[in-house]
Symmetry: C2
Subunit: 299 residues, 2 copies
């Protein structure tokens, strides 16, 4: 089954202890697509400006990403510039140029309105809502967000949370939104905001999943070569959604496997800048690390 993902495409300039890369391909939907495509066809809903390098468009097309709902707008593309120092868990944002994102209105093709698996990556909750309204009867809608929207568009975000199935969010944002430091209490509070499933991303510390039926937790896959963590969360979400869309069953067994695939997909992504590593991956690579991961955490 196809997956639809709304979010950003960007050129990123990233500095880490391992080097500096200028204007590489980035953005949530790109990282998401690189892992999701290994399981299911990916449809991107995003905007680029007139300046966006054609080579990146060609690259995505070669990866069989559906770009029919990629808007080419007047103005400049979204650009992010960030730096990681010793603590590879936290990026320091040096520059954010919203460009076309300031006026972007997502619009999808008629044939995309029936897509059942939808990921609303971190963006303005009003855009997320506007996309959701264009869909006929989605089966599984997941939503990501960040502190900026929690602080500045809280009402719109809370409204959105009542409409989605899975809330995917990082630990700090889960704490901010719930007002709970303890993550187990936090997920229970977030559950009350609407989504029947909560998936907390904890970076190097793994993840925590909560639903009324079961709780699930994994450490991160141990990686000693963290080159650039940008996009790890979206890579995680891409494999997670892609696996569910492929298998078409939202039960405990499948959700756990989807989270495990997300974990190993993210572990590859951080081993090189941007999508340099994740764009080379095959399903076999994920399966290989999944099997190793099982040994690493089984007792």
């Amino acid at each position: 089954m196809s997956v639809l993902v709304l979010g950003t495409i960007a050129t990123d300039t990233v500095k880490t202890p391992f080097g500096r890369k200028v204007d590489i391909l980035g953005g949530s939907v790109v990282h998401f697509a690189m892992s999701c495509r290994l399981f299911s066809p990916v449809n991107i809903v995003a905007a680029v400006g007139e300046d966006f390098p054609q080579k990146y468009i060609n690259f995505l097309l070669r990866k069989n990403i559906n770009l029919t709902s990629l808007s080419r707008c007047d103005g400049r593309s979204f650009h992010w510039e960030g730096e990681y120092n010793g603590d590879m868990n936290a990026a320091i944002t040096l520059k954010t140029e919203l460009g076309v994102l300031l006026t972007f209105k997502p619009r999808i093709m008629p044939e995309q309105r029936v897509i059942k698996y939808v990921f609303l990556a971190n963006t303005d909750p009003e855009l997320q809502l506007s996309l959701l309204r264009q869909l006929r009867s989605p089966q599984l809608v997941a939503l990501d967000t960040m502190n900026f929207w929690i602080d500045n568009k809280r009402a719109a975000l809370l409204k959105m949370l009542k409409k989605v199935d899975i809330f995917v969010v990082n630990d700090q944002e889960a704490r901010t939104l719930s007002g709970e430091v303890n993550l187990v209490r936090a997920v229970k509070k977030l559950r009350k905001l609407g989504p029947r499933m909560i998936l907390i991303k904890k970076g190097e510390h793994g993840c925590l999943f909560y639903s009324d039926k079961f709780i699930f937790s994994l450490p991160a896959y141990p990686v000693d070569k963290v080159i650039d963590p940008t996009g790890a969360g979206d890579t995680f979400a891409g494999a997670f959604m892609g696996y569910l869309a492929k298998t078409k069953r939202i039960d405990e067994k499948n959700l756990k496997l989807a989270i495990a695939f997300g974990t190993v997909a993210a572990s590859y992504n951080i081993e090189d800048f941007g999508v340099a590593k994740s764009c080379t991956l095959s399903l076999k690579d994920l399966q290989f690390r999944l099997n190793k991961f099982k040994q690493i955490i089984s007792f």
Copy 2:
């Protein structure tokens, strides 16, 4: 098989968002003993002062803890006063009165010199060495430490690390000692300092184990009622050592199970002040949560 543990006995005054407890029984060997005793007989090597409440001695004796090498010294008992605010992972130390610890020299009974399983809880590396020298042919020696010794007695600590089998240490201290932020790199560097096994305690984020033969990682057992995290690490170590001493096999399967028992033991400990919860535990309680834990992390 018996376990010998060197460390501190204290009266603790602890304040958390859930209340304040004055002069409760604490110290590394006490927390260690409460979980270790569920698997193996525990022998404590520590010191108390003249002021130490007899009721705490009686309590430990009732729990079948061997106190023949507990020194009663002139002076005051070790006292720690600390506070946890929102972040239950980090204690703020308000007061440390070393008292008898300033002059304490560990000395064990002749019959204890043949004990094979030894835990050297966080204390002066010179005391750790002096105890180790009294042992005939220990089979498994584990050592814990903290930043104070890394900063102030680095040479003695490095010497000790060459003599022990397992280095048990928390994540921040592993980073400080190894000079590596990435924990997978850190454990590999620590391995080169001597110990053939490295066990990193990450508090609410679980643990990471490393040896030349295998790597192992677990999240923490999810607990939503963290009342007082004091002693969680020593409770973890107690179940870990106790299980290994009971089963007498230091192989991959047993090490993994020992770490899992340590994880669930710690999860109980933090649910009440001091040892109020862990002193009530039975092996059945640990087994119960171990089975639940297996479901929580299996995919």
